[in-house]
Amino acid sequence: MEKVVSKEKKNFKFPLYVTKKIGLPAWKYWLIRIVGILGAFLLAGIVCTILKPGTFGLFFSELFRGCFDFSDITTIVELLVLTSLLLLIALALTPAFKMKFWNIGAEGQILISCLVSAGIAKFAPSDLPNIVILIMACGGAIVAGIVWSVIPAIFKAFFNTNETLFTLMMNYIATVLGGLAVSVWIKSGSQSFGLLKQGIFSEIMGSTGTLTIVFAILVFILVFFYIKKSIHGYEVTVVGESVNTARYVGINVRKVIIRTMIFTGAIMGLIGFLIVCAINQTFNDSIVGGKGFTGVLIAWLGHFEPGEILLFSFLAAVMEQGTTTAASAVSMSSFLFSSICTGIFFFVIIACEFFSSYQIKAHHNKEFMSYHGEQKALRRKKYSVQDPSEKEQYRKDFAAFFITIKNEKLEKIKSEKNGFKRFVKTIGYKISYPFSWMKARRTFNKRNNKHFSFLNLMKIFGYGITYPVFWITCHIRFAKLNKKAMKGENA
């Protein structure tokens, strides 16, 4: 049976494994998330400092100033407008996601709506009152949004076409159409669309986009009721969970898919209209600027719940607006810097999701449990820490134990035929010396029902900080013990 044991030892075993955590209390869950969010901001600050040294404090002050400058109410309004925009996008996507229809075409759907409302706003006869132009633009945008959203839905419903790639392609087609529109509509040579002269909202509280906030609140309430309280929302949940069950209770799955995407498209249309006629008052093919994808991430991180989506929209808005301000303060490209920060932000939050659902456990320490012969004598002996003579006995026994283990390890390394591997293993052994020490200590203590607080201290202060110190002290201690043990043997 030696063969079996050594085969086991040859396999590299990663000492940790992962199991599912069940039943995490709500407060712990939110604590993890809050820690994560703060960590994300911290990380962004560190990145900023790395790119432009010495700007750590500046980053945070600019971040704060960019979002919450109470002296200039425009910043707060802008922040709320951005939050509302992200919120609207994420809310629009929520019913579809609840149905497990992975619509990542928000960019294209919004862009098409922008295109239509820009066109209407620009070319409507100028003798019409502004409000009429606005209504026409809104209506056109909604229709465009619905059309762009419903096409992938139809193909999914009838042919089960992969909606992720379909909507992705629609994004790019929309971008090309946007470029076409810009080049066709602008007169002679100038690259930009210019500001709209009609079909726009006037400034309220320092920003033209203030109406977005109102719409966001309305849509929030609408989506909340739609998903949780209405029959449609119920059907959406059933379809998302199990198509078979849905069919079984008579739900027309195709109708539900298409209907939900019409809902999404309508809200996307509204968003497009707001972007063109309220917030930006111009048009080009990159006017959505990646917010569609950000909305997808927000919806997912918020577990498709309106309340959580609200929170994450706000945080993402803070991150984006704050980092843009900070970037220009330290003279960095704002688009790129905020992309990086947003990326970091989402990665950290995703990692938090992991920690709230799973936990990491360590394997049983089995390497030292096979030393049956030598350990029989030491097993089941109990030592008391207070008694000095017992302490001596403990040290002696532990020394003997550790020497045995050390020798076994060295034997194994010596038996390695390949010279290079032997070299590597020796180095590895030398470096991991304190680990062997600690493992041996812990095993020994466990067998003898003793708990050593020093090892717990290590856990608190982190191995990394104390490691070099410990490495040195281990050698010293062991040398002392070795001497004592040898003395004891010879005596």
Partner: protein, 561 residues
């Protein structure tokens, strides 16, 4: 690959569990289980569904890692962290849910993950040695269930295992195939291998095993020698108290044809023919069992009747036993009433037959106005053109539990109330849902069927399999169905719940419901059903009276054609 003959093994290879505990969240699957298995014996681990047998052996096979406790092989403690480690210790497991790659051939599946390169000849040799029937070049998606199981066993043997664990191997086999499998097991035992079988079938345990360990609700009870025990004692050990293993079958007369199926054919979702030319009648107040190996078309048959699957040809005629209704002059005039009365179609209110021959027109008119003449006319409905929701409203209910735990009929992430609402969610006002009635219904089912749940707001997927099934069946029964179609209703249930369900079905039968019962346990089918329809390869091999045929004959019918 093939282990040396028994003579060369010099010591008793021995597997020992010591204080094994495994917890999933709040569920204790194994609690301090300790026992040992000797070399070269056929060892059975017996317990009902949910007792922890599969979990325990998953620990041995490296799928799970125990939370506490140790495993010893030949008195040496081992640390099994993955299936690879288990194979290193020459332990292999054949799971209940096959772990095969569908698009590969049998040979590719066998070669998967092995360090040495195998040849097809080696596969053929091994099959011949033990008596397996396997075609190495057949792709898994073309295989039948028993072929897949054979492949799993061969695959495990190729790893050079000395201990073979079989998890519920007979659940998917016909009696003939079970006998064949037992022969193979005996061959392997002669070759010195240790076989561990996880099962809950008492008669098979008595037939094939040497020793039996019994688990109950995660605890280890005892180990007995097969030669020293009997089925009754085993059942008592499994459940913890004396149990009557008899399924009660009420003998009541059937009432008229309820469902008339003629030349029904249908295709399944992949477009292949699932059922061909099925014809049978279903009577009121009877339980019609459907037996057949998995994939014979049972699922498609039920779905077609329920309207979830379009039939390609044939007819489904449903005779709806309508409530009694008074005769009015809207329906017929006096002449027609007299004619129909003379044909015996009418009764009086007290149930006695209606004889109008001696009554004058005036009296008849008075009787009609007083609603004294009742007609009881069955409504004949062709289900062919009806949508599923209409079919359900007619009282034809389907309760179906396929392979996955939650089945078709429940939504796992929703709570009990929302699941009750699956039948009635359209009845809300102004597009909003009404949760009051479903809540009351949920509470009623929890009370009557003793469903173990914290409350009715718990998510259904958090409950154990037995309770989930109780909710599903309870919901379907609560609407007083005319026809109840249930497939594998006790799959995954413990004995008490299973018998509860059998009794429920029997009660429903007494109330006049027609029941179609698709099951895999032939013993249960033969005990519970009034008639047994055997499907094989999509058509009917026979309709038999279970009291007059043997299990072997049914087994033959299951594989014929």
């Amino acid at each position: 690959m093939v282990s040396p003959p028994a003579l060369l093994i010099t010591f008793m290879e021995n597997i020992r569990f010591e204080n094994i505990t495994k917890i999933f969240g709040s569920i204790v699957a194994n609690n301090n289980v300790s026992f040992s298995i000797d070399t070269g014996e056929v060892f059975c681990i017996l317990g009902e569904n949910g007792s922890g047998k599969t979990t325990l052996l998953n620990v041995l096979a490296g799928i799970y890692k125990q939370d506490e406790g140790r495993v010893y092989i030949n008195e040496k403690e081992v640390n099994i962290n993955s299936p690879k480690d288990a194979y290193a210790h020459k332990i292999g497991m054949v799971h209940q849910h096959f772990k095969l790659v569908n698009v590969f051939t049998a040979f590719e599946n066998i070669s998967l993950g092995s360090k040495t390169k195998y040849t097809v000849q080696q596969v053929v040799d091994l099959c011949n040695k033990y008596g397996f029937k396997l075609d190495p070049n057949k792709r898994v998606y073309d295989m039948s269930v028993s072929e897949k199981q054979t492949l799993e066993i061969v695959k495990t043997l190729f790893r050079g295992v000395d201990t073979l664990i079989l998890d519920e191997p007979t659940a998917v086999l016909t009696p003939q195939e079970i006998a064949h499998l037992f022969d193979i097991i005996r061959n392997m035992k002669k070759d010195g291998k240790t076989i561990v079988i996880i099962t809950h079938k008492l008669n098979e345990v008595m037939e094939i095993s040497d020793r039996i360990a019994i688990l109950r609700k995660g605890e280890y009870i005892t180990t007995v020698k097969t030669s020293e025990t009997n089925e009754k004692q085993l059942a008592e050990l499994m459940v913890g108290h004396k149990i009557d293993l008899n399924i009660h079958r009420s003998k009541i007369p059937t009432t008229g044809v309820r469902l008339h199926i003629e030349n029904l054919s249908a295709v399944n979702r992949d477009g292949e023919i699932a059922i061909k030319d099925i014809s049978f009648d279903l009577y009121g107040s009877e339980i019609l069992g459907i037996a057949g190996i998995s994939g014979s078309g049972q699922k498609e048959l039920l779905e077609t009747i329920a309207g979830l699957n379009k039939e390609t040809s044939g007819s489904i005629i449903f005779t709806n036993p309508k409530k009694e209704q008074p005769v009015t002059f809207f329906h017929k005039n006096i002449k027609q009433i007299r004619e129909l009365a003379s044909q015996g179609k009418f009764h009086l209110k007290d149930g006695s037959p209606c004889d109008l021959t001696n009554k004058s027109n005036k009296e008849v008119i008075e009787m009609v106005n007083n609603e004294e003449i009742i007609f009881y006319e069955d409504e004949i409905i062709d289900l062919k053109y009806k949508k599923p929701i209409e079919i359900r409203d007619l009282g034809i209910k389907l309760s179906f539990v396929p392979e996955d735990r939650l089945g078709m009929g429940l939504v796992g992430s929703m709570d009990l109330i929302d699941n009750m609402m699956l039948r009635s969610f359209r009845k809300g006002h102004a597009g909003l849902l009404d949760r009051r009635k479903p809540a009351a219904l949920a509470q009623k089912i929890v009370d009557e069927l003793e469903v173990k749940t914290p409350n009715i707001h718990t998510q259904v997927k958090k409950l154990s399999g037995g309770n989930i099934q109780k909710i599903l069946v309870g919901r379907e029964l609560s609407s007083r169905p005319k026809i109840l179609m249930t497939a594998y209703p006790v799959r995954g249930l413990d004995i008490n719940s299973s018998y509860l369900i059998y009794n429920l079905l029997d009660e429903q039968k007494k109330k006049g419901t027609s029941i179609i019962f698709v099951g895999e346990d032939l013993d249960v089918l033969m005990a519970l059903c009034d008639r047994l329809l055997v499907l094989s390869n999509g058509h009917i091999s026979g309709i038999v009276d279970p009291t007059k045929v043997s299990k072997e004959e049914i087994g033959l019918l299951m594989t014929r054609g």
